[in-house]
Homo-oligomer: 544 residues x 2
C-alpha cells in the first residue's frame, strides 16, 4: 500500500479513537437524563441515576470478588431489573454476561455453566430448583447469588449462599468501570440450541452490540424516550440488544416477569408503553385477551416480531387492537434481528391477504448489517432474484458474532468463504426482499423458542422401544409451530404416545417435547433418507 499524506502523522489517540461499546449509552443517559425513569418493575422505579448506580455497584462488587476481563457471569433470571443490571455491571468489569434460557433442562444448564466457565451464577428463586439441580450436575463451582424478587409471589426455591442485593449493596455506585481497550472484546455469551449434540456458545463483542443497538433505534425509528415493554425474554440474544438500545435513546424499560395478557395490558395502561417485541405467541395473547382487559390507548404501539412470519389473521387483529407489527429476522449469530421487513407504504392499499403475504417475508438488511445474500452454498454465487430459485441465506458484517466459544471447527464452518452461513433456505424476491422457504437445519420455532428436530430425534432414538424417529414442525395458531414426532417402533416393542413424550421431557427442556406422536413407517428416499417434506404435509392441520 502506498502511503499518502492522509496516512502520515494522523494516528489514533485517546482524543479521537475509543472502543465502541454500548456501555457508553448508559453513561450518557445517566449524565444527561439522571431523573428520567429508566426501569419500572411493579412497584419498583429506578431513575437513570439510580439504575446506573446499581449497575456500577454490581460492577464494583464483581471486581472486588476478583472478576476480570474475559470472565463469565451467568444468569438464570426472568425479565427483571437484575437481569438488565447484569447487561451493564458485568461488562463494565470486562467480563462477559451469559443470560441462560430458564426453559432449558438442568442438564443443559449444567453443560452451559461448565462450557462457559461461569465464575458467578445469579438465579431467581422462581427457577431455584432448576438452578440447584443444574449446580449439582455441573463440574464448576461458581459463586451463586440468589434473588428473591418481591414482585414474585409464586412458588420457588432458595438458591445460593448470598443474595444479589447484599452482594451489590457493598459496591460503589460511582464505579466508572474498566476501560474497554478493544471493541473486539467479548460482551456476551448466548447459547444456541445446536442441531446435533451440545449447544454452541455464540460470542458477541462490544462493537457488534453497539452497532446492533443503534441499528434497532434507527430501524424502529424509536425517537427519544420510548417506553419499552419486556415481552421478549432478555436471554434471547440479550433481548435482541434492546437491553442496550433503550439506554441509547434514554427510554424506559418496563420489566415483566411473565408474559401474560393481563400484565401486558396493565403495563400499556399504567406505564404508557410505546414499543414491544415478541414472537407470534405474544401477539396471540394480545389479540385473544378478553375485551374487558384490552386497554384503548388511542396510540399506535410498535410491535416487533420475529421467529416466525406473522399470520394474516393475527396481523389484522393486531392492527384493529392498535398495534403496528414489523417483522424482523435474524439468528443468535447475528445478535438477534438484523433484517427487517421494511414496509413500503404503497403496499397499504393492497388486500389484507396480500399485505400479510408481503409482511411474512424476512426482508432486507438492517442499516448496520453490511451484506445479506441468498446464494448457492456450493458455488457461493447469488441466486437470481426471481422469487423461485432456492439458496441459503448468508450474512456478512459487523453484527455477525465473533464466533462460537471454544469451537473453532464450528466457527470455521459457519464463516466458510467469508460469509456467515445461516443454514436457512430461502429465495430472493424480485424486489430484493428475502423469503425463507425452509430451514436446512430443521429448526422448529415454537412460542419463540428454537427446537432442533435432530436433537429431539436423538432423544427419541435413545428410548429402548424406538426404531426410527423423525420430528417436524406443524403450523399452529398459538405457538407458531409445534413439534410432531413420527415414530416407528422396534418389532415387538411397545410404547404409548404419553410415555414417549414424558421420556423426552425428562431428558431435555420440556418445551422441546413433541405435542403429538404419530406411529408407523417413515417415508424414505431410495437412498434411505427420511422424506421430511412428506411428513410435514402429513403434519399440517387441515386447511393450511
Amino acid at each position: 500500500m502506498t502511503l499518502t499524506p492522509y496516512d502520515i502523522d494522523l494516528p489514533k489517540t485517546a482524543a479521537n479513537h475509543q472502543a465502541l461499546t454500548p456501555l457508553s449509552f448508559l453513561k450518557r443517559a445517566a449524565s444527561v437524563f439522571p431523573d428520567r425513569p429508566a426501569v419500572i418493575h411493579g412497584r419498583t422505579r429506578f431513575t437513570y441515576r439510580e439504575f446506573a448506580g446499581r449497575c456500577a455497584r454490581l460492577g464494583s462488587a464483581l471486581k472486588a470478588h476478583g472478576i476480570v476481563r474475559g470472565d463469565t457471569v451467568a444468569t438464570l433470571l426472568p425479565n427483571t431489573p437484575a437481569q438488565l443490571e447484569c447487561h451493564y455491571g458485568v461488562p463494565m468489569t470486562g467480563a462477559v454476561v451469559n443470560a441462560i434460557n430458564y426453559r432449558l433442562s438442568a442438564q443443559e444448564i449444567a453443560f452451559i455453566l461448565d462450557h462457559g466457565e461461569a465464575k458467578i451464577f445469579i438465579a431467581d428463586r422462581e427457577f431455584g430448583a432448576l438452578a440447584n439441580a443444574a449446580l449439582k450436575l455441573c463440574k464448576s463451582k461458581p459463586l451463586v447469588l440468589g434473588i428473591d424478587d418481591p414482585e414474585h409471589d409464586g412458588p420457588g426455591e432458595a438458591v445460593g449462599t448470598q443474595s444479589y442485593e447484599d452482594f451489590i449493596a457493598g459496591g460503589d455506585p460511582a464505579y466508572a468501570g474498566e476501560t474497554i481497550g478493544d471493541e473486539w472484546d467479548a460482551i456476551a455469551l448466548n447459547y444456541t440450541s445446536g442441531t446435533t449434540g451440545n449447544p454452541k456458545g455464540v460470542v458477541f463483542h462490544h462493537r457488534g452490540a453497539y452497532l446492533l443497538s443503534l441499528g434497532n433505534a434507527i430501524t424502529a425509528a424509536m425517537g427519544q424516550h420510548p417506553v419499552y415493554l419486556w415481552t421478549l425474554p432478555m436471554f434471547h440474544c440479550n433481548g435482541w440488544c434492546f437491553t442496550w438500545t433503550i439506554s441509547a435513546v434514554a427510554g424506559t424499560h418496563v420489566c415483566l416477569r411473565k408474559t401474560e395478557a393481563a400484565r401486558i395490558y396493565a403495563a400499556i395502561r399504567d406505564a404508557g408503553v410505546t414499543h414491544m417485541c415478541g414472537a407470534p405467541v405474544v401477539m396471540n395473547m394480545i389479540v385473544n385477551a378478553p375485551d374487558e382487559m384490552k386497554t384503548q390507548t388511542g396510540r399506535t404501539i410498535e410491535f416487533y416480531t420475529a421467529a416466525a412470519p406473522p399470520p394474516a389473521a393475527v396481523l389484522q387483529k393486531m392492527d384493529a387492537a392498535g398495534f403496528r407489527v414489523t417483522h424482523l429476522y435474524g439468528l443468535t449469530e447475528t445478535y438477534g434481528p438484523s433484517t427487517i421487513n421494511a414496509w413500503n407504504e404503497d403496499w397499504d392499499k393492497l388486500e389484507a391477504a396480500e399485505r400479510a403475504r408481503l409482511k411474512a417475508r424476512q426482508g432486507v438488511r438492517y442499516v448496520v448489517l453490511e451484506e445479506l445474500a441468498v446464494m448457492d452454498p456450493e458455488t457461493m454465487q447469488p441466486v437470481p432474484k426471481d422469487g423461485e430459485t432456492m439458496g441459503e441465506v448468508f450474512f456478512r458484517g459487523n453484527v455477525v458474532m465473533k464466533g462460537y466459544l471454544k469451537n473453532p471447527k464450528a466457527t470455521g464452518e459457519a464463516f466458510a468463504g467469508g460469509w456467515f452461513h445461516s443454514g436457512d433456505l430461502g429465495v430472493w424476491d424480485e424486489d430484493g426482499y428475502i423469503r425463507l422457504k425452509d430451514r436446512s437445519k430443521d429448526i422448529i420455532i415454537s412460542g419463540g423458542e428454537n427446537i432442533s428436530s435432530s436433537e429431539v430425534e436423538d432423544v427419541l432414538y435413545r428410548h429402548p422401544a424406538v426404531f426410527e424417529a423423525a420430528v417436524v414442525g406443524r403450523p399452529d395458531e398459538q405457538w407458531g409451530e409445534i413439534a410432531i414426532a413420527f415414530v416407528n417402533l422396534k418389532p415387538g416393542a411397545s410404547a404409548t404416545e404419553q410415555e414417549l413424550i414424558d421420556y423426552v421431557r425428562s431428558q431435555i427442556a420440556k418445551y422441546k417435547a413433541p405435542k403429538t406422536i404419530v406411529f408407523g413407517d417413515l417415508p424414505k428416499t431410495s437412498t434411505g433418507k427420511v422424506q421430511k417434506f412428506k411428513l410435514r404435509d402429513q403434519a399440517k392441520p387441515i386447511g393450511i
Copy 2:
C-alpha cells in the same frame, strides 16, 4: 494481558468484520429502495437506483482517470446533485472529497488546492470566475471539470476543459467501488479558518463519518424516508454529515442552489420537506418572509440550527410558523454537530424567555460522542457544574477528526492530554448541559460562517495606515453576529472606513470584512493586551 477463551480462535474474518463506512448506506438504499426518490433538484429527479448509478459512474470515471486511495478531489459547488454525488463517488475509489467553501477568496481557494494536493477540481459555472482565478494562483494543476447546471439561470463563467456530465457519462453505473480496507482511512477533507495564518485541513475518516451519520439520524429521530431540504451548505463539514445520513434512512435530498425564502417555501410546498438545517440567518429568512409566501403545511418541520444560539424572538416566530427548532453545537473537528440541546418536555411549561435561555445552551453529547467535558485547560480537571466556573470545552471520541492534514504540530496541540481542545470557553450548568461563554479563539459567527477575528486583524495590520486593530463580534438579529473593527491609525496617516473595509474585502473572503470601523485608541491592560471585553461592550447594540 491474560489470554482468555474469548481471545482464542475468534478472529476477525470477512464474515464478521468490515470497515465502517457511510458508503454502505447508499448501497443499501439503492438495493432496498431503488425506486424511491433520492434527489430532487428543480425539474431533475433521481431515484435511488439512478442516484447510486450516477455515483458509481463518477467513481469509475475517477478510477479510469487514475484516482486512487488517498488522492484528493476538490469541489466548488452549490448544493446540487453533483456535490452529493461527489460525497459517494469520490470515496468509492478510496479518494478523499474536499468540498471547498465558495465564499472564500481566490487566494484562499488556491492555498487549499495546493495544500490538499487536489488531483481533480470540480466547479460550477456560477463560481467559474472564482475557480479560474484560484487556478491561476495555485501551483498544482488539477484536472478541472466544469458544471453548467440547467437550474442556474444567473451569471457565470465557463470553467475546465471537460464537463462533469461528459466525464461521468463514460463511467460504469454498476461499479461497486474499491473495498475500504480500513475504517481509519480518510473520507473527507474540510478546511477550517485558522486563527492565525493559513486554514487547516481537517481530515474525516470513514469510521467517524459513519458514526456521526447514524448519530444524526438518532438525535434527529428522523424515522425512515425524511424529506431533507439543503438549506445548509454541503461544504460545511459535508453538510454536518447529512449528505450520508439521508441515505441511511433512505430519505430524499431536496437540493437548493441558493438559500432564499421563496425557494425554501416552494420546496416545503412542492416536495413535502420534513427536515432542514441552517444557521440562525436561515431562520430569519424563514420567519421574515412575506406572509403570502409562507406555506401552511399543518405539519411540524424539524429545524436543526447551530453556529450561534437561536434568539428568543426568532424561536417564537419559528414555532408560530410550524418549525420545531433544535440547537446543536460542534466544530469542523467534530464532524459538525456532536452536541445537542436535548429538550426536556418539562421545560415546555416555562415562559418563552426562559425556554429561549435554556435552548441557547449547547447541551449534551451526541450518543455517538464518547465524552464531552468543560475542564480547566491547565489542570485538565473538570470544572464544577455550577453554571459559573469557566473552562474550555473538550471532546473525546470516535467523531473527533483524524487530525489536521500535514500539520502534526497543530494536531498534537489540538489533542494534547488525550482530548480535543475546542478553544471554546464555557460553563457546565448544574444539569450537565454546557453553555458557551466566549470563544477563546475569537471566532465570530456571521451568517453561519466562522470569521477569525485575528485573521481579519492580520489583514488590517497590513494596511499602511493602520497602527493597531482589534476585531470583535456584535450581536445582530439577521446575521447572528457581525464583525466590528476598532482601528487606531498611525500618527499622521489617514484612511476612511470604506477604504479599510474594501481593503479587507480585496484580501480575504468578502464575508469576513467588518461591517463597521470605529476609529480611536484601544483600551489595554497594564501589560499592553487589548481588552476585548471592553470593545465587545462598546460594540453591543443598545438594549442588549
